[in-house]
Point group: C2
Chain length 251, copies 2
DNA sequence: TAGATTGTTAATCGATTAACAATC
DNA sequence: TAGATTGTTAATCGATTAACAATC
């Protein structure tokens, strides 16, 4: 059985051009949307849908048809004028572009509430990512078996990092520690050889050139929502701006 | 004791111009960075730092000095040429702009792994957000007491939503359900009157005009990292592109 | 052929950057 | 006054959008 990467068996005959995805240098904004397209396409595929137009797919993905077509055109000409896109083929091309043809190993550092929830969540395994390590520095938690019933995992020491990377088991590092430990953990991840980091800690990370850091920050998201929430309140009571609020209330 | 919003006691004498923040219509990209500036400023304030230059603050926030100054200038002229920014005053102005002068109530729907981790996390309360409800539709979990030791919370039925919004206790809705329940929960949140939603479910939400939805998606973040990870692998083995990989390996 | 839909172009919009005049 | 640093301007860059020629 040859690896999936090598076989283009799922590509229909109208596959255009090179196997190597054409465009090169895909805009970051496009890359950030590809996972959505991929998920919706996978879902359509499971529903037995064979073809979609850019209009239909765009609606399902919550983007404009123009944006969708522009994005997809970055990957190549995978649609058929007058017909639309072959669901299965397009899903395949996007998964190839995203690097989903192979499973990536994820090591989570920090086995607190968040780390535990992440490994128990199932969100990793379901999309082709495998949790290859759950590490913590606290002696009390090391050795505990956490994770889900299907994917139990024993908490290891942070010192296990190097071996995981060395053996090509870990490819992506996830920081799920408190903020004050984040930079130190980040430095260890980079020192171990990782170049892809997902940071859940509310901290700004310093990384050398070439390291890709994505950040997920609950407080930031809530504060952005608070901003809009306040805007709405302001609009409904335009007179009650902070300068005059005191007088307005206590007049 | 008058409400904090009404008193500008913390503003130093050099406060320029109106109490109402000047610029209006702050660019979304700027709004998204304000929480970072605010957090770093708060941290500086706690360290007893009185003044920062845009260069120092920018470095701490991981942005360029030009971008920082541009962002801050959207709020007003809160700096002093030749000196820098008064840490306390700037933190105050940003918190006012972000709507952090008042506590916002957050209702979390979905008391599974993720929902539990969120309410136990402490990330809410620490930044002026209060979890006013943890709701679920599953009879087994309703009534359970979850959350942290400091902030225990009983799981309630989803039907409790309307009262929470009606009583002005809930302002932001968080969706922590599986993907297939997300749209339904979203519809209920909107119907109950919420206009600010944070979605952790891997689903595209349809919302009416005027509703602000922020999305946090673990799988999306990981797939973006996978894309970069694959790019790096491609660069190191340029010959082993998918088209020729089979032959290359099995030659 | 007629109808449908893609892929691409050109225009617009917004965000970033660099440079510097204003000014503390 | 001299040195430092902001706030703003203008240039650049990237992303979005609308429109349509290409083509199935």
């Amino acid at each position: 059985m040859s690896p999936v990467r090598a076989s283009h068996t799922s590509a229909p005959a109208h596959a255009s051009g090179s196997g190597r995805s054409s465009g090169r240098d895909i805009p970051p904004a496009t890359v950030a949307r590809l996972p959505i397209y991929h998920r919706v396409l996978t879902s359509l595929e499971e529903s037995g849908v064979l073809t979609v137009s850019s209009d239909e797919l765009a609606t399902s993905c919550g983007v404009s048809p123009a944006k969708l077509r522009k994005d997809l055109s970055q990957l190549g000409s995978y649609g058929t004028r007058g017909v639309g896109y072959d669901v299965r083929f397009l899903a395949y091309q996007i998964s190839r572009e995203l690097g989903l043809m192979q499973p990536w190993g994820v090591v989570v550092v920090g086995a607190g509430n968040l780390g535990q929830a992440l490994v128990a969540y199932g969100g990793f395994a379901s999309r082709g990512f495998q949790v290859v390590g759950l590490l913590d520095s606290h002696p009390d938690v090391i050795g505990q078996v956490l994770g889900s019933r299907e994917h139990p995992i024993e908490v290891g020491p942070v010192s296990a990092l190097d071996a995981l990377v060395e053996d090509d088991r870990a490819h992506i590092g996830v920081i799920a520690t408190p903020a004050d430990a984040a930079q130190d953990v980040c430095d260890r991840l980079v020192a171990a050889g990782l170049r892809s980091i997902l940071n859940f800690a509310p901290a700004v990370l310093n990384v050398p050139e070439g390291v890709e850091v994505r950040k997920v920050d609950l407080a930031v998201e809530l504060q952005i929502l608070a901003f809009h929430e306040q805007r709405r309140a302001d609009e409904q009571h335009p007179a009650l701006d902070p300068t005059s609020l005191g007088e307005a209330i206590y007049a």
